[in-house]
Amino acid sequence: MKLLVPVKRVVDYNVKVRVKSDGTGVETANVKMSMNPFDEIAVEEAVRLKEKGIASEIVAVSIGVAAAAEQIRTALAMGADRGILVEHDGALEPLAVAKILKAVVAKEQPQLVILGKQAIDDDMNATGQMLAALLGWPQGTFASRLEIADGKATVTREVDGGLETVELRLPAIVTTDLRLNEPRYASLPNIMKARKKPIETLKPADLGVDPAPRLTVLKVEEPPKRQAGKKVASVQELVDKLRNEAKVI
């Protein structure tokens, strides 16, 4: 069974982004870029399914600027077999990404697509669900456990209040939550090997998709900053302040 894993190039999670002074967006020039952490979890899960003999091939896809090939290389070094880069230089929203992924699915015919639950830059948490809708496939979002057997995926999901388990008919969409696995680091030999794995480059137009955004960003601001308060010397002083100054208890 073939797996498709979409991986997004995002500002590294350790970077504290700065809002541009002209209010048009955030500063992304000269900041460290990485694979979206939830997508690393997706790649790891795909590689484990291959190691168990359940998956036969893993295709990593990224949609974005030419440099997103770096994130595809990371996926290849972790164990994906080949890559597809859909090059687009401009704003991309989950609906457009889902339309592009739908076209890639039509071309590749995977039985399972594993995405991250959320990109840590736009914080949309939408693409997997949208892709499932466009394909008419079932979805298992926020997965903390995944089992594949007998043409079905059993997905344990992190929900409000605890966990929920659903069974999906394949082909299906799964999105990863933090507890699904701990992604491996690519070894040096695997990084070398990944250089020889193929990456195909396409344009949205090759797939018949117009990626024009539906949302116009009117303004981007820095949220109100909190001021650091004071240090208290003892638990007694803390309780006194909470009762008599802040009046919250």
Binding site: L163, R179, L218, E222, G229, V239
Partner: protein, 311 residues
């Protein structure tokens, strides 16, 4: 036309995130309809101020709010509405993007403000940036960041009419197998007036329970950092942060939590923040109104005793 809010399935009551979504909907249009999945919530829904009509959908397919049939139902109802909303809960986040794609609409996730019927404010980059976005789509599909909207009260409305809606066809793609939901007598994390959260420094699931004494005294909910959840000290649904729950209580007490941006994204709108950490350089102190530099294993029991002594 009117706007439709999908309620979280939550026993027979309407939970606070749903009531926040009703409040957000009320800023868009005066005619707000609330869709409940199952009969048991209908009565509570009819009592909400600001709800003009309750739609009740019954059927096996909705009993667990499975995404595929529930999205199909919303799509069937969509022609009567300009906006479809849900709280940005696990349920809303699962269903609403699916609805949006079926309607060929770009969802606006986790709105934190309504500027006008087409224009919304939302955080991105872990709460480090706040965008104002205008949607060009004919119909809007939104989830609501509950912490940003004061919920409508649970009671006091004039009593909205309840109308049964015809179930949509179930695509039969998925099946609910089981749920393991924690039962807790404590207030719900996103609804609590006081939250006390523990981090990696708690050291074990057993140690984590020392927070319970303080929580009991304060009537607080308990939360956790990702590190504490990953280590198994606390269940997943207690994670506060960018990719967990967003809370904005009157008082948030962070115990043995360093204050990573991903954690701050989930709690920095709290009215008063207290940090207890043994490292005086910990970033959490930069957002704390009251900081106590101390070993938590000494400070937490002391805090419990002091609350008892001064109550």
């Amino acid at each position: 036309m009117a706007v439709l809010v999908l309620a979280d399935r939550s026993g027979s009551a309407i939970n606070q995130p749903t009531r926040s979504a009703v409040a957000a909907a009320g800023q868009i249009d005066r005619e707000v309809h609330l869709l409940v999945l199952g009969a048991e919530q209908a009565e509570a829904a009819a009592k909400l101020p600001g709800v003009a009509k309750v739609l009740k959908a019954e059927g096996e397919a909705y009993a667990h709010a499975l995404a595929e049939p529930t999205a199909a139902l919303l799509v069937a109802l969509a022609p009567n509405y300009t906006h479809l909303l849900a709280p940005g809960s696990a349920q809303g986040k699962n269903i609403m993007p699916r609805v949006a794609a079926l309607l060929d609409v770009q969802i606006v996730s986790d709105i934190a403000g309504v500027v006008d019927a087409d224009t919304f404010r939302r955080f991105f980059y872990a709460g480090n940036a706040l965008a104002t976005v205008k949607s060009a789509d004919a119909r809007k599909v939104l989830t609501v960041r509950a912490a940003s909207f004061d919920p409508v009260p649970a009671e006091g409305g004039p009593g909205a009419p309840i109308e049964a809606v015809r179930p949509a066809e179930d695509p039969g793609l998925s099946r609910f197998l089981r749920a393991e939901l924690a039962k807790s007598a404590r207030p719900e994390l996103t609804a609590a007036r006081i939250v006390i959260s523990g981090g990696r420094a708690m050291g074990s699931a057993e140690n984590f329970r020392i927070l319970e004494g303080v929580a009991d005294k304060l009537g607080a909910a308990i939360g956790a950092s990702r590190a504490a959840v990953d280590a198994g000290y606390a269940p997943n649904d207690l994670q506060v942060g960018q990719t967990g729950k967003i809370v904005a209580p009157d008082l948030y007490i962070a115990v043995g939590i360093s204050g990573a941006i991903q954690h701050l994204a989930g709690m920095k709108d709290s009215k008063v923040i207290v940090a207890i950490n043994k490292d005086e350089e910990a970033p959490i102190f930069q957002v704390a109104d009251y900081g106590l530099v101390a070993d938590l294993f000494k400070a937490v029991p002391e805090l419990e005793a002091e609350l008892e002594r001064t109550k």
